[in-house]
């Protein structure tokens, strides 16, 4: 604790950096995963290709992926874009399947009803399928966000900022307090982001609460 108070500035700087490195990829990943997940549901082959590619990306160690990035992107070695892109790739890999599953789980008769009422495909996707997929997507997003927050720390090994610095530096100097601070902050950040997503998911799906209320009332 005394260590934290004495080093508030660098800790807060690391935290700020961490937030940026973690949240940008999550948001980007979500934005990319939605159309990809939709694409995956077009036919089984596309789905197989996309989910297998996603699974494959998952087997690439993150440290290696960070290091590959400049080669692929032509960026500078310490460019934060490397981390952001690498983590975005992980998020997309994680979410494509979730989005695809979520869209598959939309009740067939609801989609059918939408078609029968004369919805055009795009309008149906935005107006019916996507809202109904929100609960599952949010669940997947929570997983992705939490893992990304924890994954950002690895960047510290090769010179990117974030709370991982507290690990590498604390390790170099045998400073347990510093390492523990890092762990606690990562956990706290994950908790805060997770709760925020949970809350956002609730706000986006008022009909879900209606359902549980009813279920509660009838027992």
């Amino acid at each position: 604790m005394t260590w934290v108070l004495g080093n508030l500035d660098p800790v807060l700087r690391a935290l700020r950096q961490h937030v940026v490195y973690a949240l940008v990829p999550v948001l980007l990943g979500l934005v990319l995963a939605i159309p990809l997940g939709r694409l995956a549901n077009l036919n089984p082959t596309v789905r197989a290709v996309l989910t297998n590619a996603a699974g494959l990306l998952y087997t690439v160690p993150s440290l290696a992926l960070f290091v590959f990035m400049p080669a692929v992107l032509g960026t500078q070695i310490l460019d934060p874009v490397n981390v952001v892109v690498a983590l975005t790739i992980y998020t997309v890999a994680l979410l494509v399947r979730t989005v695809s599953d979520a869209l598959t789980a939309v009740p067939g008769n609801v989609v059918d009803a939408a078609n029968a009422m004369g919805y055009t495909p795009l309008r149906r996707f935005v107006g019916v399928e996507l809202p109904l997929a929100v609960p599952v997507i949010v669940a997947g997003l929570r997983v992705a966000a939490v893992s990304t927050i924890s994954l950002v720390t690895v960047g510290a090994v090769i010179g990117f900022g974030g709370l991982g610095l507290l690990f590498t530096e604390g390790f170099n100097r045998s400073n347990d307090a510093q390492i523990v601070t890092g762990i606690v902050l990562v956990l706290l950040l994950a908790l805060v982001v997770d709760s925020a997503l949970l809350l956002a998911g609730r706000l986006l799906t008022p009909w879900q609460r209606a359902r549980t209320r009813k279920a509660g009332a009838t027992t």
């Binding site: 599953d101 893992s147 924890s150 762990i183 997770d194």
Partner: protein
């Protein structure tokens, strides 16, 4: 520079500290981790799933540990335990247990309640229900959990190299230090290949030991309704 040349140089495979030796170490760490995780998590998950008590624990544990930064845990343990294998092993177990636990728990919970009810109605006692009905039916999800744990562990075992242990991560960390890109990429490719092969093997195992009655049989397999929370824990990787 030939990025893949390193992989195709035979002496890189056979020398002391070469690929074969590292591969063996990597497999060793992974196997040990999975063994311990299965021994701990399967009985625990099965018991919690069967009794229905402590489900919140599984969910909380799975979510909480996901956020725990592997690198942080690793270095923290290394400052206490030094260079022993114990630190990385604990770290990897902490990574693997939630996946196996959640898979087992979800597997047992997902068994059709009507089937469990029928089993009890036929006069099976608690352990019989668990052994003869719940576990065989939960097997696909249990192995699913094991598969995602395996993927994570293989990928993450590379960080053991950060605290001076062996395994394929050596190539990544040493290559990083030496700025030898071909070694790093070669090491990464090996890790990815290993993960894929392990996953295929486990997939084969699943086909072999899961009852054919549970494997999707085309038209008749009714699609299960998806839960709001994915029951099969997604593979999560925290460090490499």
């Amino acid at each position: 520079m030939n990025l893949f040349g390193w992989l195709f140089t035979p002496e890189n495979w056979t020398m002391t500290g070469g690929i074969l030796a590292r591969l063996a170490e990597h497999l060793g760490y992974t196997a040990l981790t999975l063994l311990v995780s299965v021994v701990v998590a399967v009985p625990l998950g099965a018991w919690i799933g069967h009794t229905g008590r402590g489900g919140f624990l599984v969910v909380g544990l799975a979510n909480g540990l996901r956020a725990l930064p592997t690198l942080g845990l690793l270095v923290l343990l290394a400052t206490f335990l030094g260079l022993s294998l114990l630190g990385p092993l604990i770290t990897l177990i902490v990574l693997a247990v939630p996946a196996v636990l959640a898979g087992t728990y979800a597997g047992i919970r997902n068994v059709d309640p009507a089937v469990v009810d029928a089993a009890r109605g036929m006069g099976m006692r608690g352990p019989e229900v668990l052994w003869k009905v719940e576990l065989p039916n939960a097997l696909p999800l249990i192995i699913g959990g094991l598969r995602s744990a395996t993927l994570q562990v293989i990928a993450t075992a590379t960080i053991a190299a950060y605290v001076s242990l062996g395994g394929l991560g050596r190539f990544i960390i040493d290559g990083l230090g030496q700025r030898d890109f071909s070694v790093m990429i070669g090491g990464s490719i090996l890790v990815a290949l290993l993960a894929i092969i392990a996953d295929l093997l486990l997939g084969g195992l699943q086909k072999l030991i899961v009852s054919p009655g549970l494997q999707a049989t085309g038209r008749t397999a009714a699609p299960r309704r998806l839960r709001a929370v994915p029951t099969r824990p997604e593979p999560v990787r925290e460090a490499a």
